[in-house]
């Protein structure tokens, strides 16, 4: 295991690893990190250079307030705890990547730019991140049609060599992910909580060791569930896949609604909405807002699904993108 000095500094500054619940100083939030990244770039410095500079050098070379520089130096001093915590996580099979790493998903840099998380923790096959695939999203509670549809998409992903992207939560996420893995397909789960615990379930662990699965989270790997976290990771699901299929959504509430409307607005990818006679009210309105209709039962042979999705979405033009910085 080794961590580049750039990544180490991003972990030191931005992650909550090895910090108490209410840390002083607090780690940088994404907005603060982006500002600093720009200042560093303007000074022709790399994040790793902060390890070798003392406080007064930082103040002299980087456009930054004195108290902010002091905060940085306090955060950087915690390398001991990060080393101990990272060693423990690695030995559990949990790894860290940052925006400074080559294996950081390019799609996040392209599509999310400044909102691309500075640090990701993952277990399993990291190369799956950003491979062609379909995201399946939807609430935890869903009807019979929704369940069948979720399993169908999981199966088709496996049979067609596509990655199944989901949030790894109960309901739609688990049904579609299990359906993909049971057919020896591949899947990526972007978790809102407790990556450390998620990887212990025997079936999950087996898929991780086979290289069929990658579980990712932008939050500390031992963190508990929070609504904000669940909302925050939605864009990480959408922006990693080629197509999204919303199986079931409430109206004006819940993570699925928030994520789907955000994705429709941002135009990261074509968003399909499950369309059937008894569909939830949320689906109906999302269709009105520009979601593409996804009929179930699927009218064609399953093997046509990828092609069908592409043809249906030719009406949507992807927005031009530009790469963000570390």
């Amino acid at each position: 295991m080794s961590i580049s000095s750039d990544s180490l500094v991003i972990l030191l500054l931005c992650s909550r690893l090895g910090l108490p619940a209410d840390p002083d100083p607090a780690p940088l939030n994404l907005r603060e990190w982006n500002l600093l990244a720009r200042s560093l770039q303007a000074a022709s410095l790399w994040p790793g250079d902060l390890l070798n500079l003392d406080l007064k050098d930082v103040i002299a070379q980087v456009d930054i307030a004195v108290e902010e520089a002091a905060r940085l130096s306090r955060l950087i001093e915690r390398s001991g705890a990060i080393a101990i915590e990272m060693e423990r996580l690695e030995s559990l099979g949990v790894h860290a990547i940052t925006r400074a790493d080559n294996i950081y998903p390019q799609r996040y840099r392209q599509k999310l730019k400044d909102s691309a998380p500075a640090v990701l923790f993952y277990a399993g096959n990291v190369e799956l991140l950003g491979q062609p695939g379909i995201a399946v999203v939807g609430s935890r509670h869903l009807d019979q049609v929704g369940q069948e549809c979720a399993a169908f998409i999981g199966n088709v992903c496996a049979w067609s060599g596509l990655v199944l992207y989901s949030g790894g939560a109960k309901g739609v996420d688990t049904i579609s992910m299990d359906a993909a893995l049971e057919e020896r397909g591949t899947a990526v789960g972007i978790l809102a909580d407790n990556l450390e615990k998620a990887i212990r379930a025997p079936a999950t662990r087996a898929a991780l060791s086979r290289g069929d699965l990658c579980l990712v989270t932008p939050y500390a790997p031992g963190a508990g569930f929070s609504v904000g976290a669940a909302m925050g990771r939605n864009k990480l699901i959408y922006s990693l896949s080629d197509f999204a299929i919303v199986v079931a959504s409430n109206v004006e509430k819940g993570g699925t609604w928030a994520g789907a409307t955000e994705a429709l607005k941002a135009g990261w990818l074509p968003v399909f909405i499950l369309d059937h006679p008894d569909m939830p009210e949320g689906n109906r309105i999302l269709l009105q807002m520009g979601g593409l209709a996804f009929p179930y039962p699927f009218p064609e042979k399953f093997s046509k699904l990828p092609e069908w999705l592409r043809i249906q979405s030719t009406s949507i033009q992807p927005k031009p993108t530009q790469l963000g910085l570390f």
């Binding site: 390890l51 080393a83 101990i84 060693e87 087996a206």
Partner: protein, 693 residues
């Protein structure tokens, strides 16, 4: 800065104190230049002084507290007291002081701790990682790794946790100083540590010779001769000393013998089922309330009593480094000290056992991984119920798998183990390399025993001392030595002593986990056995040889053994109320062996022998069962009582006790069928398990 440091030194040690060569260089490199340093200096040189002063300077410069990782925390009390004199506030966190963890946590929050001492195991402890370490906010100003030779596979001391420490150190950015300390590291170990910690590691190495030590080697085949030698020669030594033995049983025997001969001795070891209060013994020994400790390696590295004037080895240690370390406890602050190595016939057998059991078998790894792979998480006891692996081996296997990242632990009321997604392959190349090294060390040690030149020089060369030369003090240099022979009568007496020891059989009080899911684990006291006795350890120099012959050569136990057993029961043990009848465990493979012995025994005891216990099924030999659950399961259903039995106290006889489950189960059956209290008696106790520590 050096002036200030010298003033601090004088505060700690008194007005006369000055730095020893190397001390200031180390402090300067760590505290002022924030470098990585490995200090190889003999015990007593003052390594703790280096990290206390470096901590002081770093803290005054605004650094976070020092994190000191050492397997020997309990022995640091004196050093901590010394550090208080320059205002260093030290806190210790280990598994033995949980009640103080809250205190430590708040001291760290308030930045009132300058050096935090932890054992290597803490680094994988959730509570430490999740609530204590964050209170430092990770601001570790200096990492100190004590016993740094454990970092290298070439070191003589195998500690899996050190692999974890190395990975942590490798993740530290430059600019976080690191200090490794060791008293024993040859060139190969130093080079290996350098590879692992980076080429910029500065090595400060001093001479290892101890001017006060006088060495001599004496080979004596039999234990009884060596025991006699001790009695004849111990009175010639002045002051206090240590006698090292290889096994727990040997420390007990030697202690018993020397006590009987009027010496002021105590046994010191970490064996199971003993009530040894090690800190209290250390304390009493430090204050010369005990003259001699008879110890296993449990009296380990770092034990610092400056006025030890002799270290005698009752058996030969496994390596020159281990030997050097152990004799290095003598002669720190006395002018004349002795290191006498006795060695005998049993040494090779014991050392080979240590080598063979150094690593768990492939089967142990595979069974434990298999159990964990089919579950989300299991407790230690649950794992044992799934695998045929001995408890101590299971502990070792889990530790190695954890360090390898194959399994993790979490705490939920109890420690739970789980399989990680990391791939795992047995590192058989590494295991073979380490075992080959152990064998080479063993033959080097034998070469030392046979060496006719200067003994100290031999040790120094083996340790790559920068300047080895003849000491002019050892028996070989002087041509003057202690007696190599002993009075015959005393040897006979020692042999009789070995024959006269009996060994307690402690009754089992709980069924193993998972054995009787429908029953409570506690065995009700009215159906437990009473404490029992064994005549000897199987194969030992007293009765043990006769038991082995009886079982495997003659096919019957000799009259001598019958008489010895009767004497023990009548004269020494005297169970009260005395048993009114005798019964025996029917032997599987030698159906008449135990019955025949019991029949002869009752003739001596004058009470009847009744065969009431039957074998109802075939079971595997108990010694092939590796842990309690498996052993007990192996016995269940193979014993039965089908006749009426007297309601009076009974002596329950077997030849060899291994796990104790056969006797426990038979006793349980006797009690539930209406017998009086049950006294187990066996000719021998098996020694294969827990021979070490």
């Amino acid at each position: 800065m050096i002036g200030y440091a010298q003033a601090l030194l004088r505060n700690m040690l008194g007005e006369q104190a000055t730095f020893r060569p190397g001390q200031w260089e180390a402090i300067e490199a760590i505290a002022l230049k924030k470098q990585r340093v490995l200090v190889v200096q003999r015990t007593g040189w003052g390594k703790s002084l280096v990290y206390f002063l470096a901590t002081k300077l770093l803290r005054e410069g605004g650094s976070g507290p020092t994190l000191l990782i050492s397997p020997l925390l309990s022995l640091m009390r004196n050093q901590i007291e010394m550090a208080k004199k320059i205002g260093i506030r030290a806190l210790t966190i280990n598994s033995a002081n949980r009640q103080e963890w809250d205190l430590a946590e708040s001291a760290l929050t308030l930045n009132q701790c300058d050096i935090l001492l932890i054992s290597p195991e803490r680094l994988s402890n959730e509570r430490f990682l999740k609530s204590i370490l964050p209170e430092v906010a990770g601001r570790v100003g200096l990492f100190v790794v004590d016993e740094a030779h454990c970092i290298s596979d070439w070191g003589h001391d195998f500690r899996p946790d050190y692999r974890r420490i190395v990975r942590i150190l490798q993740l530290l950015p430059r600019g976080v100083p690191i200090l490794g300390t060791t008293a024993t590291a040859n060139n190969r170990v130093v080079a290996d540590i350098q590879v692992q910690l980076g080429p910029e590691l500065i090595v400060l190495r001093g001479p290892l010779a101890r001017e006060s030590l006088r060495l001599q080697n004496i080979q004596m085949a039999n234990q009884s001769e060596r025991m006699a030698w001790l009695v004849e020669n111990l009175p010639k030594f002045r002051g206090s000393g240590i006698i090292y033995c290889l096994t727990v049983a040997d420390t007990e025997r030697v202690t018993g013998w020397l006590k009987q001969k009027g010496f002021q001795v105590e046994a010191y070891h970490a064996g199971d089922n003993t009530k040894i209060d090690r800190p209290a013994l250390e304390e009493a020994f430090l204050h010369n309330e005990i003259q001699i400790l008879v110890a296993t390696v449990a009296l380990g590295m770092g034990f610092d009593k400056p006025d030890i004037s002799f270290v005698i080895h009752f058996q030969r240690p496994g390596s020159v480094i281990a030997y050097y370390q152990q004799i290095g406890r003598a002669g720190r602050a006395v002018e004349r000290a002795y290191g006498i190595l006795l060695s005998g016939v049993e040494d090779d057998e014991i050392q080979n056992y240590f080598i063979e059991s150094a690593f768990p078998s492939q089967q142990a790894f595979q069974e434990i991984l298999g159990a964990l792979e089919s579950h989300e998480a299991l407790s230690f006891e649950e794992i044992l119920a799934h695998v045929n692996v001995a408890r101590t081996v299971a502990e070792k296997t889990l530790k190695m798998l954890e360090v390898d990242g194959a399994i993790g632990t979490t705490f939920d009321g109890k420690t739970l183990f789980f399989r990680t997604p990391n791939p795992w392959q047995p590192d058989s190349e590494r295991i073979d390399r380490v075992l080959a090294l152990r064998r080479a060390e063993l033959s080097q040690m034998q070469a030392y025993v046979d060496h006719t030149g200067c003994l100290m020089e031999f040790l120094l060369r083996a340790l790559d001392d920068p300047d080895p030369r003849p000491c002019g003090r050892c028996a070989n240099c002087l041509g003057k030595e202690m007696n190599r022979s002993v009075a015959h009568e005393l040897t006979v007496e020692a042999e009789n002593f070995l024959k006269g020891i009996s060994i307690d059989i402690k009754p089992r009080k709980r069924w193993p986990v998972g054995l009787f899911p429908e029953l409570k684990r506690v065995i009700p006291s009215e159906v437990q056995n009473c404490p029992g006795r064994s005549l000897c350890y199987y194969g030992d120099a007293g009765w043990g040889k006769l038991v082995r012959n009886g079982k495997y050569v003659d096919g019957r136990f000799s009259d001598e053994l019958v008489e010895a057993a009767a004497r023990l029961i009548y004269n020494a043990w005297k169970p009260d109320p005395f048993p009114e009848w005798v019964t025996a465990i029917p032997s599987r493979r030698h159906p008449l062996l135990v019955n025949d012995f019991a029949e002869h025994l009752v003739a001596q005891l004058g009470i009847p022998f009744l065969t009431v216990i039957e074998r109802t099924g075939e079971a595997a030999e108990q010694k092939t069962m590796q842990n309690s659950t498996m052993q007990a399961r192996n016995v269940i259903g193979t014993l039965a009582i089908k006749v009426d039995i007297p309601a009076t106290p009974v002596l329950l006889v077997d030849d060899i006790i291994d796990s104790g489950w056969t006797l426990t189960m038979a006793g349980y059956l006797l009690r539930t069928h209406g017998s009086g209290v049950v006294y187990p008696f066996t000719l021998a106790q098996a020694t294969g398990r827990n021979v070490s520590s």
